[in-house]
């Protein structure tokens, strides 16, 4: 039993009339989940009573819980309300979930990023439910004239044993809505959880399987126009002139014009990242007409100048350099290899690594690389905007509504409170929709044509106007002594345009002599966060290097890691180690047990990998067989320590997805650049993993503990790339260092 002051996030408990149903731009049916479900017994109530910003209760006991954060497929629209319902002691089958709008007065951190929704929402969601339960109890105590402490709740019911009184939440909802918000509330003991730690179905499932409108691209409003944009064909180019004479006269076309996404004097934030800010816009009645008119544009492009842009990068003021010129993947690779030959910037140094390498019995040195990746959300970028003189109504898929609201308000010249953003369910995010330039573009277009408009990117627009996963390269060196102990470890790494180094992660802390250096190369290719940024390369590189070091040392790869972790636990080197060695070892022990490690079948080639990121620990074992010379993933075992698992089956689904996603990107995917032009612009050239390449089965196991929940959307993704590489070595006898392992020549299916 935990008593918490409700001061943190207290504004969340202010009763809000705006959430009561009036003024919702998209309307109830759009944002609400699909309840009533077949098992539901209640109809819609006659009246809703607002208890706090997170929830309202109908007179008949039906409860609406607002899901505050953007839903990108990580299932927070189900799991966040589950946490509220748990502390409320609600009957889950009488809960409707509704997507909250962006409202920074009522909710905190309405963002999908860094696998932090549950971790950072945990306390306020619990308090929202617990304070509502307290208000219901106080209402009942007043009505029944009994002490509030004697009232108990269970499954949507209030009861008082002494007097024999009982009532449903609905009967007390009206009175509870008039009770002052408590100063402090008591949270449930973990052992009393009835909803958290039980599997609950995705609240949008029934809408998904029947094709109901859910996504930004599905948004429709009467009189809405469709906009499409044309951007330069190459990074390093910009708009010169446009001849729109043919396009303008085509059927269904309303207008063709150019826009500037950001004003020259506007200081862009990290989330305003976009290489192409002068765009040609075609506005028409329908998507097909706008698409055709776009093809008829005659546009002249010219070389863009060298740009130094002052940007606000999460509070740090930095000048970011976008060099002039047309870049090439081949040149990038050569540049990165060159930089790995000379010392970089020392980020962490323990002991005397130079001396240790000099005295080593054996030195192992290997290099790893990975290409740019496009996010390729299945729902291409889009946004709806209706901007009038005094307000802006925006709706669509964005992971950072709070940041983009500021960006749009600034660009439109409207006060922040006049910009309204509704979050639609997203057809994937993976970090791409953190960068919401498409929202601002839609808003500028609507302002210009004075009409409601939906901006739609084609797949080609989406893939060639990306904020790609940076390209990285890493050099690893390990020194073994005469007893095959790892005595020194050296990583030198960098990328275009950022370094993937996390210098304080394992094996830092486990090796006496340690050196981590990095470097960066400026580029005009736009890059950004991609599911588990930086970790999505460095985990695979490090974990395949450790596999090779273990082999050279004649040790089992799991035992080798466990020995290092035991050292990091009992006698850590340095003080800034960014992981708990015991929990790290815990997932390795669990995957070892579940996969029957050491008792392999002869025909299976196994690879192991483990990594810590986004506050969670993941270890994986991957079993591969060769069929007609091609690798087939038979099975993946995945052990995860992410603290309390709110919704186990959904968490399992997310981890399965991370595994498939990681195998796919490690094996098949890449975006290459030639003379500034992305060489892949659709799924005929850009290879994503498909059904037949997915593992035949995936087994996910969670460590059972009572630690507050940590990240899950990202952590299962990075380590699997190492497991793939290590299994490939076992299967082929060949080490794979450069992603994608199967190269771009692999078969693309249609």
């Amino acid at each position: 039993m935990t008593i918490v002051k409700t001061t943190f996030g207290r504004r969340s408990f202010i009763r809000s009339t705006t959430l009561a149903g009036g003024g919702m731009m998209l309307g109830f049916s759009w944002l609400a989940s699909c309840k009533p479900t077949p098992e539901q017994v209640l109809n819609m109530p006659k009246e809703w009573f607002n208890i706090n910003a997170y929830l309202k209760i109908g007179e008949n006991g039906l409860i609406t819980i607002m899901s505050p954060n953007p839903e990108i497929g990580q299932n927070v629209k189900t799991s966040m309300p589950m946490i509220v319902a748990e502390e409320l002691d609600a009957d889950w089958k009488n809960v409707i979930v509704e997507q909250a709008p962006l409202n920074t007065d009522l909710f905190t951190r309405q963002l999908a990023g860094g696998s932090q929704s549950i971790r950072q929402g945990w306390e306020s969601l619990r308090m929202a439910g617990a304070s509502a339960r307290q208000m219901l109890k106080e209402a009942a105590a007043q009505q029944w004239q009994v002490p509030v402490e004697e009232i108990t709740t269970d499954n949507g019911m209030l009861s008082h044993q002494g007097s024999g009184n009982s009532a449903g939440f609905g009967e007390m909802a009206s009175a509870a809505s008039k009770i002052p918000v408590p100063e402090e509330v008591t949270l449930k003991s973990l052992k009393d959880f009835k909803i958290i730690r039980t599997s609950r179905k995705n609240v949008d499932g029934p809408k998904i399987v029947t094709g109901q409108p859910l996504y930004g691209l599905d948004y429709h409003r009467e009189g809405m126009l469709i906009a499409m944009i044309a951007h330069p064909p190459a990074f390093g180019m910009k708009l010169k002139t446009v001849d729109d004479s043919v396009a303008k006269s085509m059927p269904g076309i309303k207008d063709v014009f150019t826009i500037k996404t950001f004003n020259d004097d506007y200081k862009r934030s990290a989330f305003d990242n976009s290489a192409f800010t002068d765009l040609v816009v075609v506005v028409g009645n329908t998507t097909w007409e706008a698409m055709n008119a776009k093809k008829a544009l005659k546009i002249e492009w010219e070389m863009a100048p060298d740009i130094h842009l002052d940007m606000d990068l999460f509070g740090r003021q930095m000048s970011v350099h976008f060099p002039a010129g047309l870049e090439n993947t081949d040149t990038h690779k050569a540049q990165m290899a060159e930089l790995n030959k000379k010392p970089g910037k020392t980020v962490r140094k323990d002991g005397d690594p130079i001396k240790a390498f000099k005295n080593a019995s054996k030195i192992i040195e290997r290099s790893y690389s990975c290409p740019f990746l496009a996010h390729n959300c299945m729902e291409p970028m889009n946004f709806f905007a209706d901007v009038t003189e005094d307000k802006a109504e925006l709706a669509g898929p964005v992971q950072t509504p709070e940041f983009m609201e500021k960006s749009a308000a600034e660009r439109l010249g409207l006060p922040l409170e006049k910009v309204d953003i509704q979050m639609t369910r997203m057809g994937g995010g993976f970090g791409r929709r953190l960068y919401g330039h498409f929202l601002t573009e839609a808003a500028v277009i609507s302002q210009k044509i004075k009409a409601p408009v939906k901006l739609v990117y084609t797949r080609e627009d989406d893939m060639t106007h990306g904020t790609y996963r940076p390209a990285y390269n890493a050099l690893y060196r390990a020194a073994l002594d005469e007893n095959n102990n790892l005595v020194a470890f050296h990583v030198r790494t960098g990328g275009i345009p950022e370094s993937p180094l996390s210098a304080n992660r394992f094996p830092a802390g486990a090796v006496d002599h340690y050196l981590a250096e990095d470097w960066t190369i400026d580029s005009n290719i736009t890059t950004g966060a991609f599911r588990a940024p930086r970790s999505n390369f460095i985990a695979g590189a490090e974990q395949s290097f450790l596999d090779e070091v273990a082999e050279e040392a004649g040790k089992d790869p799991i035992e080798f890691r466990l020995e290092l972790l035991a050292r990091a636990k009992s006698n850590p080197v340095g003080e800034r180690n960014d992981y708990e060695a015991e929990r790290y070892a815990g997932v390795l022990e669990l995957v070892k047990e579940k996969s029957n490690w050491g008792k392999e079948q002869a025909n299976l080639s196994r690879g192991v990998s483990a990594y810590f990121c986004h506050n969670s620990y993941v270890a994986q074992v991957l079993d591969m067989v060769m069929v007609n010379g091609a690798p087939v993933v038979e099975k993946v075992y995945c052990a995860i320590d992410c603290g309390i698992v709110v919704n186990p089956d959904a968490a399992t689904n997310l981890a399965e997805g991370g595994v498939v996603d990681g195998i796919g990107h490690a094996m098949y995917s890449e975006l290459t650049i030639k003379d500034g032009v992305p060489e892949q612009n659709n799924f005929d050239k850009y290879k994503l993993i498909r059904h037949s390449e997915a593992p035949k089965s995936i087994e996910v196991h969670f460590v059972k503990n009572d630690v507050d929940p940590t990240g899950l959307g990202e952590p299962p993704f990075p380590p699997i790339m190492g497991a793939v590489a290590n299994a490939l070595y076992k299967a082929t006898g060949k080490r794979f260092y450069d992603q994608p392992f199967m190269g771009s020549s692999s078969k693309v299916l249609g």
């Binding site: 029947t210 329908t286 059904h691 997915a694």
Partner: protein, 154 residues
């Protein structure tokens, strides 16, 4: 522009449209049936899969003028109340993550089961390989197809 008659989900529809318009955009922009999704526009991802006379077809590259009086079925018309065996199986396995590709997966899977009531893993891979799921729900899709086959054969 031309007046075109279509049979969509058992209903006759008349629309005035450029005859080269792909069925995908006729459904989405003209008939407000947005369950059929746009993913690539070149028949490479399967998000736009519908049935034409029961055959799984990519609607993003099919000109509306080519349909004639054939029956179009979209995800909205697959069942009256989400009770097609494939939809029931998808709900049972809670298959989806973002959910965007799933209408296409469901339409492809339901056509598969019409032709092959007991598909093997290899049969499923062969037919489903044209449908990309970026979230990686492939293993659940396979399980759900098998559940749907059992429901259908029950």
């Amino acid at each position: 522009m031309a007046l075109i008659n279509l049979n969509v989900n058992g209903k006759s529809q008349q629309i005035d449209v450029d005859p080269t318009t792909p069925v995908l955009w006729v459904l989405r922009d003209h008939l407000q049936l947005v369950g059929t999704k746009y993913g690539c526009g070149i028949a490479q991802c399967g998000a736009c899969t519908i049935h034409i006379n029961g055959v799984a077809t990519r609607s993003c590259t099919l000109p509306v003028s080519a349909v004639g009086n054939q029956e179009i079925t979209t995800i909205e018309g697959l069942s009256e109340s989400a009770d097609h065996p494939v939809q029931k199986a998808w709900l049972e396995h809670d298959v989806y993550q973002c959910g965007y590709c799933q209408a296409g997966q469901i339409m492809q899977a339901s056509a598969l089961l019409n032709n092959n009531p007991n598909p093997s893993d290899e049969d499923i891979d062969a037919v489903m390989d044209g449908n990309i799921c970026r979230c990686g729900t492939y293993t659940r899709i396979k399980k759900a197809i098998k559940t749907a086959a059992n429901l259908k054969n029950a």
